[in-house]
Symmetry: C2
Amino acid sequence: MTWFTVIKKSEERTSDNASGRCGLLQTPHGEIQTPVFMPVGTRAAVKGIIPQQLYQTHTQMILSNTYHLLLRPGAAVVEQLGGLHRFMGWDRPILTDSGGYQVFSLSTLNRIGQDEVEFASHIDGAKVVLSPRIAIRVQNQLGADIIMAFDECVALPCRRDRMLESVERTLRWARLSREAHERTEDQLLFGIAQGGTDKELRTYCCEKLIEIGFDGYAIGGLSVGESHEEMIDTVNHTAELLPADKPRYLMGVGTPRDIVAAIAAGIDMFDCVLPTRNARHATAFTHQGTIKLRNETFKLQNEPLDEDCDCYTCRNFSRAYLRHLFMVDEMTGPILVSIHNIAFYQHLMAQARRAIQENRFNDWAARWSRYDMERKNTKKTD
Amino acid sequence: MTWFTVIKKSEERTSDNASGRCGLLQTPHGEIQTPVFMPVGTRAAVKGIIPQQLYQTHTQMILSNTYHLLLRPGAAVVEQLGGLHRFMGWDRPILTDSGGYQVFSLSTLNRIGQDEVEFASHIDGAKVVLSPRIAIRVQNQLGADIIMAFDECVALPCRRDRMLESVERTLRWARLSREAHERTEDQLLFGIAQGGTDKELRTYCCEKLIEIGFDGYAIGGLSVGESHEEMIDTVNHTAELLPADKPRYLMGVGTPRDIVAAIAAGIDMFDCVLPTRNARHATAFTHQGTIKLRNETFKLQNEPLDEDCDCYTCRNFSRAYLRHLFMVDEMTGPILVSIHNIAFYQHLMAQARRAIQENRFNDWAARWSRYDMERKNTKKTD
């Protein structure tokens, strides 16, 4: 079955294989236009936004986290209640990550074995074991449209021998994940390439992953502390190694500038907590850069967050009102700015798709290379 | 101008003057069907619900608080930004209270004078003065469709001489409020009857208020600690004293049982924080009584909060999912249950209006006299 089709490649390609491209991704819950941005719904909920509003932001697909759902409410509970889509009232596609990143970033590790990792839950310290087999079984139970191989993600910078060891473990776990996958008829399984910013290791990891064979390939282990330039350099290198006829997913990235540069490198899928996390901290994305709404400047500004945005928030509320909501701690502040920030990201993706189709991607992308915002680790869990 | 019309009185009337009735209330922002329930938007926002969703709950009108808006962002700011409707993106009618209740319940009083009261802001302790003149000027600036006279509201129980003094002050302030009102062409001004549960004082207060003459009359000072029976006894007594051709508003009430009993007494308008406040504490209204969603019982319940409800929440989410949202502290838990609880109240009002029009109000109301929930002071500020 051909479930991913590249419908248009940028004629202004950056290389033979990797270049900005538009595609269609078929899933049991509908067709997705790529490049696609997935808001993060860690605990089976995108923070502050109910599905009705998320649809209005033109969100096609969301991400949810295996690690968190495994701990609460538990995969068996979600399965018994009809699977993740039914559980969270979201009938468009979902991707679940494998829990690998969270195990290594959120929890206290007790033991890393050959085939499994034992950790203390970040909630109550309870001992939990995850392995490729368990991570895949849990994802089979949750029932997302796309599921991810269980991987190890290390913080950067990292010693080369430690990184090699981690890549070998990730590859071993990728094979075990592939073997464990039982819902091949209705869930796509993606492998995850690791290797930090080491190009040789990235090459090695990609080659081995392609040998195993996956429905799509993710680039993991980036946006964890390295600079924008290092990250994009690695993405350019890695995307080129991946099969042109499979979707490429850059995990946990990023700022508008990161995303635009990664689209140019041939990436098709993104997820990031930035739009919702920034919204909760009163920071809104605009075409002129991000703005911090608590600033006194906005006290009497009767215009919308972004004149070029037609989201629900921008059509109905002023900067002054949104500032007021944050100053008096009203929940609708984070809600309304989350709607806008996600709509802003979805508008960015729509612009990118259109620019590729109209052969003017490079021109359009150049504007975003100066997009003004602080860059930190964007790859947090929301 | 006839801006209030009683279109149907219950044939099963409880007394000659006071009986359940349906009416139409014309305002500059549209026509309201009474009896009407107003969700509380204290700081120019109904907690957790954006206007788009509030419209979907069939909310016709909301209440906002002068006291809070006076402190933040300030009446001049709201006025400069186009008034309260434009500011908060709500284009249906709004009622603002006068701040009287909050001055006496939330702040530290420094001094009660003849014509004014000085208090310390509950936010930063800043000295603030409110008077009938200021409260009305602020409400003229905010621009709600219905505004309230500045009154004194005392806690119950209360000594009779103290209550008499308070009634005299409320009457004096009612006169001053009437004189201060400058937007008589597009804002209705309601007087507020006080007097606690003392029928003689209630009678006296109503007679004097009617002499002054208002566009509508509110019953204040109830649901502040007295029993349901005491409250309804006072409402029955007081409603009967008020002009039949003007709307009657019972402030800050209450539980479904309170509201149904007060409709029987001839009350047309209600506001209360219960649906939203309970929602934030994981308590949902159902036709079988209130339920506390954190209870383990709901862990695997795949049915909606209330089988008889067709709100967005009940059409899309299970009790188990809503419980999960509260257990993991997701904002969408309070959001979704607030939507349901307000829809529940609006459905209650729609049922009441229909029962009156179909001459079966008493039968319908009897079912609600046993509605199961704790009763406390419902007259808090949200």
